[in-house]
Amino acid sequence: MKKNILKLFLTITIVMAMVACTSDFEEMNTNPNQLTSVPYTSLMTGAELSVLGTYAFLNNELAKFRWVRYNSRDVYVHQDRYQITGEATNFNYYSGHLKDLKQAMEQASEAGDDNSLAVLKILTAYAYQNITDWFGDIPYSEALMADDPNNPIIFPKYDSQESIYTDLIAQLKAANALIDPDANIGEADVIFNGDMMMWKRFCNSLLLRVYMRISNVSPSVARAGIEEIMANPSTYPIITSVDNAAFKHWLPDDPIYRSPWWINPANNPKSLSEVVCSAFLIKFLKDRNDPRLPVYAEPALNSGEYVGNPLGHLGSNTPDLSIRGIAEFGSKDSPTRIMRYAEVMFILAEAALNGWNVGMTAQDAYEAAIKASFDEYGLTGVQSYLNEPLVDWNGGTPQRELIGDQKWIALYLDGSQAWAEVRRTGYPVYVDVTEPEGTFYPGMGTIKRIPYPYSEEINNPENLAAAKANQPGIISEKFGAGVWWDVN
């Protein structure tokens, strides 16, 4: 009996011990594998890299750089033929870099780091402009608020593109005001290595882009905005040369961070690349004796000639076709062209043509823009090019069309911007109106928007439905009515 009592005590002791030792649970459940807080500069680094990879890169699924006739595919042509549905699209930009940017902004704001805050704001505006240009109305004012302690929102409403643009202007102006141009925020800024003057120039040039984009629907806002910038160069410095354009240069020797444009020569791009130059591009360059032809394209492997492939055309072989130029658009240090000096000058040319006061004539701006594009590749012979019948400012081609055509060719491979500009201006006319060969939607015209992700039909259905109702005229997700500023 004594023994039994002893054992009973033992049992009770075990029980007590068990109840007592849950105190280490919190420590046990602390994640040993991942950080639960990080400095905002590392979020900025990550967001910058993600932003670069999203909006200024060749994205195969969202085939914008092909829809604008820069390139085309030789075999799997279904995307070129507009086979894109909400199945293939997503809104992961939000939970990706937009959320990181928001978090970093909160931390930078707490730390009183105005310059970083400005960078983060510029990147956010840059991202949102791209997204809304693709989709139209998108969640904006209620976005990214799932973990808001006061007002958590998991079903953000969609805001009109007009209201988004209004806020983008305000955000960029605010960012510009925050910047101390003499400051350097260090290498965590992997785009301009902390050079705040570069950010200021990019910020105001981006404002020019934003204003010009809405110039057909809000001409007075656009005019006032552009004129204000051009009248106050010390308050609103812009990109003034190829050297201070918004280019991101990569780490050519880093296998992860070498240029994302890099085409591995081991893959025999001339015979294997499925992406080749479009027939319209080659013709456009040839028609104008454009010295950019060998920069933009490689001669075909088989013939040594520049041969393009019509968009959507099936049945060609890569070796018979030109792939995109490797030195500028396929090397390990090919820069990512976030915003070119040429684009700034084309914006000014168009503004001047509108009769707005930008301190120069439309022709001067137009010709400076073309020179800027030539300078970008170290090309000479601008003057003779400007005399080409299809380039000449006074050669008979409508000047608005000339600006549109030349802007398109200068924006080579910047698919997002070129697609937006083609939709806004209608130039080049061929690109704006010609359906790809074998389009899956014959007679529906050219693509006007990226279809909303199907995941929104499941995860945010009511707001998506409201957004569609607010943008009548969309046909088959991507045709019919364009986005708000697309009234062409």
């Binding site: 049992t11 075990i14 994640n31 042509v77 086979q83 939970s95 608020m145 079903f155 992860i256």
Partner: protein
Amino acid sequence: MKKKSKTLWALYKPIPSLKIFMIMRIMVFLLILGVIHVMGKDSYSQNTKVSLNMNDVTVGQVLNTIESQSEFYFIYNPKLVDVNRKVNIHARNEKIEKVLDQLFNGTNIEHMVLDRQVVLSPKVLLASSRKAEKRLQQQQITVTGTVTDEKGDPLPGVNIIVKGTVQGTITDADGKYTLSVAPGATLVFSYVGYKTQEIPVDNQTTVNVTMAESTVGINEVVVTALGITRERKALGYAVQDISGDDIEKTAETNVINALAGKSAGVFVNSSNGNVGASSRIIIRGNNSLRGGNQPLFVVDGVPIDNSLVSSSRGGYDYTDMGNRAADINPADIAEMTILKGANAAALYGARGANGVVLITTKTGSRSGFSVELGNSTTFSNPLRLPDFQNQYGQGGGGQYWYYDGLNGGKYDGVDESFGPELDYVVKAEDIQPGGKLYWAVEAGFPQTVGEILKLPQFNSPIDPVTGERIPTPWISHPDNVKNFYETGIKRITSASLSNGGDWGAVRLSLTNSDEKGMLPNTNLIKNTVSFSGQTNLTEKLSFDIRGSYINLHGNMSGSGYTFNNVNMQTIWGARQVDWAWLKDHIETEDGRPISWINRWHNNPYWIQYKNLNPMKENRVIGKASVNYQFTDWLSLMGRIGTDASNQQVELKRAYYGINDKEGRYQVTNYTRQEINADFLLSANKKINSDLTLRGNFGGNIMNKQYREQGSYVSKLVVPNNYSLANAKETPTTKYYKSEKEIQSLYGDLSVGFKDQLFLDLTGRNDWSSTLPVDANSYFYPSATFSWIFTETFGLDPSIFSFGKIRYGWAQVGNDTDPYRLDLIYSAGNPYGTNPRYSIGNTMPPLKLKNELITSNEIGLDLRFFNNRFGIDVTVYKSKAENQILSAAISPTSGYNSQLINAGRIDNQGVEIMLHTTPVQTNDFSWDVMVNWSKNKNKVVALSGDIESLELYKTEGNRITVVAPVGGSYGDMMGTGFVYHENGKIIVGKDGKPLYSEVRKLGNIMPDWLGSINNSFSYKGLHFSFLIDAKVGGDLYSRTDQDGFVTGTLKEIPGIVGTTVGLNDRGGEIRGKLEDGGGYLVDGVFEDGTPNNVYLYLNDARWGLFRHGEANLYDATYVKLREVSLSYSLPSNVVSKINLSGINIGVFARNVAILYTPEIISFDPEVSNRNASQTSQGSTYGSPPSARNIGFRVRFTY
């Protein structure tokens, strides 16, 4: 029943000398008969008359005739009685003695009639046995022994009778008995709920017996939660058990597969027929929204790991490495018990919420030394392969020629089969300008009229002068894919030694399983050493130690949408390719692979032999428990158990591969360890003759640790040397660890009244490390009740043998995974020296508490006609609330998902088990077991306003699998066709089907499951076959989707239809429109008029059927799951070679698909990648399932 006595001969163990043998037998008979004679009140032989009129017949025929017209039966040794002697016999209403006198007149055979039995024997023998009769009665020996159950526990109250007599006894409380018998007697041991055994005494003075439970018993003891054994009749919930023999008989290596069709409410899905492929098991539907839903596996009281392991280098290279419960050696399993749902598993807490599979391993028998040797060999072949077309070869637009396989020729960089017609005999007009084959002539490949088209192909010889390929005939290879699969061979060899006695029992077993897969160069070798030992140290203190060491290693094959899965290449592989040629030409002399297309696919044999996916694992599962019996009613058990494994998974990619030009090596080590320490204080007391009380109080600490350490290099310096040092770059390393602990206290109390009313109450409190500190403790109770009403009403057992009604209510709480409470930042590759982070995509919970499942079940167990017919019906309903789940939310909210306590899922269902024994004689029995179950799932609520929870996307992203409010878990959403009111699909003006909005197209889960097992036993011969059916549920086939686009498949069921041959206007379906060819979608225009827009398939195919609905199929099947035939050699034969048993068998598993609603190109049971949740409901180039046929043999000494 009449012929009983003849077979009695066989029951006697032979003695070497025939004469002594004979004498002995006769004596025993006389003894038996004597007793019967004395007991008998009416003499049948005196009152029965026989009439015969037979000429020129054998004695045997006469005896048979008598037997057939009367109840007499004859006992004789055919070696001593000449039954072939021809006689004439005439008798009319004569007594049997008279007839026999006439029959054996003039022979030395004497007869002795005792009631219905007639003994025929040579006169000398019979006389001597008569003399011996008296002597024998005085020569009885005293036999003692102990009767135990399979677990070695003594069985009190077992009936023991001397065969053929009424002499007998029962065992006492310790299972012991003493009985005086003749030395040659046979003892019959019987006990309700156990199989009756007959054991010859053979001069032994100690006969110990282990009683095996019978499958349809009533009083049988079943293992319930925490290893507590209970009488089945007292349980208030359904449990189903499966014997180790049943699992072993078809030599299945993954225990989960062996459960298919064996139990109601249990849904087994084996992913495919690859060696080591994983399998999934769902009991009573999906309760949890966050995947998993797998039951807990418990071996001898120790929970074990059943995680899915794979090797992957991202989406395009994936290998299923199996589910870890498959490590359990079926040869060591004595019994598996399935606890279904919360009621049965309440004491296991959260981990048992999806049910529990309890595995009890074999122990040594306390009846003495024995050796068992077993071997099985199984052959596997693909059960079903896609039906490939053989009319068109590689290319596009009807053209093709090979230059470099990189698009250097005509379409030689295209892995699609829209090229020239195969086996096409060239006609004169074809090679004229404008002719069908003029392009070939133009390209410089002249054709001969009347001969088969000749084109340069990847395996055409090269002209040594020009260096160009010489065109070779463009011919079909219909069996290229089929012949790629080899016959898989699996050999399982096991040996076990066991010994036991009053001191305890030990068993040691060794098993080797050597499996070679159907895919070339795949294999899996598994070695298991198991030990089990039980001993009583003192009368009160006993130990039980069991453990297994498992070692396995092998090379697995890719699955899923991966270039490493050769089965994917079969869908993308051009139809003219001669795979046999590729087998003989794997690589060039400098090690570069030879392929039919250098742009997209490696040579399939090169993949199998050069790109390896090795896996090895060491695992120890063991427990030690000590039991102290304070008094006869109170005991304390302490136990510690562990499951610890170390697994290494490698991925070796050879140089020059299309996806890894410089090779790749990846190695990941997984260390998993779970330790459970528990105690259980048990009381079991009969308060008075009516009232029994039993109770348990226990506690458990579960600590689970996981480590994953992996590294890879994607560029090797030296080809085909796989080490991390052989790298052109710094290896990338991943290290992840996690730890979780749950502490628990629990108890139960059972009250039994008059053995007919039972009430059970349980309660458990868990403390989990994974929940917030202020919410980490949670309690949940259960109550069950059962009433055996047949006992109460005293019904006639020969008609209504047993009837029980039961009811149970239970709650089970559940926690979550470690480290889910905090927001985490994921690290990216640092940019230069700048760190890069991003906010995790899952929003951490604002508040979190435990999940709670509440379950109700009611059941009825009825047996009739001495248990010849039984039906057990269970109806259950469970609701799972406050689920901790990662709910997909719009990424625009800032996160892709959110961790919430939300939602309610209800499952309700019916399970019916029916068994009957239509025929049962002493020699022959026919048993039928039917299982049927239906589960209905309803998502009642999700979080807040969320209408639908995305679970995952199926292969190809056409279908999103969701849990929508008001719908069911696993609903499949996607775009479908638009239907006209006349039922046809609507096509646009372009002849292509319109798209509907995203809508519900199906569900991944079946509507109901059923199985029927028939087993037949005749003497030692046993035959059974199992048919099981899964009805309902849908499957998205990317196999068919891509098979249409690539043009490899002949027929796509559903709307797509035939892809080769002629269309309804007589032109080729794949032909050009101007030739009258073209493909016509079977649909109507919006105004209802039939579609008449033919499409050039080569151009239209890519966009034509991008509807989720186009390749969604009803996954219903009826399968012949198992067939098995086994034979136990008679003991008199076996004993001649000094063995106590030989059992041989042949079997087949996954034998045939008996029915599918549509003729689909795959086994509807296969899943895309592995057995994971996200692989359910889709298939893509999935490895075919295997049809297994084998034989086995087992020797027992």
